[in-house]
Amino acid sequence: MDNTGKMPAGDRRLFYSLAPAAVISMGILVVMTVLFIYYSIPAVRVYGAKLITTSTWSPSEYGEPSYGLLIPILGTLISSIIAVVIALPLALSAVFFTEEVLPRSMGSVRSAFASLIEAMTGIPTIVYGLWGLMVLSPFLRDNVYQPLYRYLGFIPLFSCEPVTGSTILTAGILLSIMITPFIYAVVRQSYNQVPRTYKEAILALGATRYEYARILFGMIKPAILAGALIGFGRAAGETVAVALVVGNTFNPPTCILSPSYTVSALIANQFANAPLYPYMVNVLVLGGLILLVLGIISNILGVMYLARVRYVA
């Protein structure tokens, strides 16, 4: 229903002078989606399902290039899952630590701790990447990966010799550090929305703080899921930090101690030169479309779960 007709002249003038800005802002996502689909179609037409079921990546300026996104797609999923698995306990502990372990009387310490975690979202992602490449990777290779391979090498996940520190696991660990503050923020907000009376009631039952935490986190389970999903979305879309530590190699990420690829890293490394190769732009845009869909779906689901918490509380 268009109600511009009912507006006084002055309002209508404001409406029409602001509308272009709103249309442009709104149009960006629309144009992006349409354009990405448009560019993806030729790739799908030529390569079909092979694009996501095979893993050969041999671009060629002349002959018959073949493209398979399987490895980067798996790499994105596995590194993001690792990130969430590590970040979730860290974020939940940090929430519990700020809200319950630090005594109420130490209000300034609490807010200082909270702003430290918040500050982590402010550190540029490229700085995370640089640190990940130069500091974290060598450290993990020497102190974690080598022992893992030596003693637990019989497990397929750790069955490859860690030659460099740039691996899918490093990407997962670095991403976990980067998404912890986001999960923390989502969970903490819901945690604080739980009415005080519930908290007091639980304690009045004589629960220990362990039992208390289990009940409270149980109450806000949807928010924890939402945090995990939003964190997953962030991790899957992160580009430069991952491109610096993932190794950028077409190895299947089934052994997480080997270098591999993610979709975002593939785009970062190859898109600029893609126009030189037939269909490569189209294939990479398809990769982008996959990231777009992944990002939007995980976020929509996350927001849905969050809405459910509010309903409960």
């Binding site: 229903m1 602001l18 940090a94 630590f97 500050a119 550190i123 490229i126 130069m134 430069v240 970062a268």
Partner: protein, 284 residues
């Protein structure tokens, strides 16, 4: 029985406290690494670091990040010129005409941009602006960054405007103000700190963005953009330089990356601090 519960509580408290420390530990390690390594580089290079070009790869000289720093300044300026009006006007539209379907769509679509990997924004600008112009440019980079800025600034400005008590709007209308006078002279005037905070947070986000620049500005590592016409030429930016230099095997370029990381971190943290200050001093 009772003792076991106590023991479990103890263990739980210890584990959560340790994990909470582990969660923030990287922050300190990153800041310390950047400060020590970057600080050492800056000390060695002196003021030249801010003005010179990078020395040739593998040489014993360092040089500096002058062109990239200047490029980042231009990007910040141009992005503000494009992004601030666009986001502020969009936010005003969303708040003022919130019952109109167009406003609702604009709200949903701009806030969704927040969830989109920024590298895709770089792709979009590559496929449109860059391919239309036929080459990379600072302008294309700024357009990409303005899109990155948009959802942050829109949501801040929106919230700042919503927080202005309704009675001031009524007061504005009651003395015969038009809608745009109420919006720009009253609501925006009262919300100006929130609006400024939104702009600063947007800037803090964009100066450190790398992915949108990968396929938009090129990396013209030796040219100093000086005038408006250089905006249409390729340029460089601090985060892009870090990304590319970190991957090279050359010691002197890796050092430059660390120095650049220190500069970038300082800029971003300063912007965040400014934002906090702006927000704190609000009184109605």
């Amino acid at each position: 029985m009772r003792d076991w519960r106590r023991v479990k509580e103890r263990i739980f408290l210890a584990v959560t406290s340790i994990l909470a420390m582990v969660a923030v530990a990287p922050l300190f390690h990153i800041i310390a690494s950047v400060a020590i390594r970057g600080g050492g580089v800056l000390y060695r290079a002196g003021l030249d670091f801010l003005t010179s070009q990078p020395a040739p790869p593998g040489s014993s000289m360092l040089g500096g990040i002058g062109p990239a720093l200047l490029g980042t300044l231009w990007l910040a300026l141009l992005t503000s010129a494009i992004g601030i009006p666009l986001s502020v006007l969009t936010a005003v539209f969303i708040v003022e005409f919130k019952d109109h379907p167009l406003a609702r769509l604009a709200k949903v679509f701009t806030s969704s941009l927040l969830e989109i990997p920024t590298v895709l924004i770089g792709m979009l600008v590559f496929l449109t602006i860059v391919s239309m112009m036929g080459h990379y440019s600072l302008l294309a980079g700024s357009i990409a960054l303005a899109i990155v800025m948009l959802p942050y600034t829109v949501s801040y400005v929106e919230r700042a405007m919503e927080e202005v008590p309704r009675t001031y709007r009524e007061a504005g209308y009651s003395i015969g103000m038009t809608r745009s006078q109420v919006v720009f002279d009253v609501v925006m005037g009262i919300a100006r700190r929130g609006v400024a905070a939104g702009v600063v947070i947007g800037l803090a986000k964009i100066v450190s963005e790398t992915a949108p620049l990968l396929f938009t500005i090129g990396s013209a590592r030796s040219s100093y953009p000086m005038s408006m016409k250089d905006v249409f030429e390729p340029g460089d930016a601090v985060p892009l330089l870090i990304f590319q230099f970190a991957q090279t095997p050359y010691q002197n370029w890796q050092d430059l990356a660390w120095g650049a990381a220190l500069i970038l971190t300082v800029i971003v943290l300063a912007l965040f601090a400014a934002m906090k200050l702006i927000v704190r001093e609000v009184h109605l």
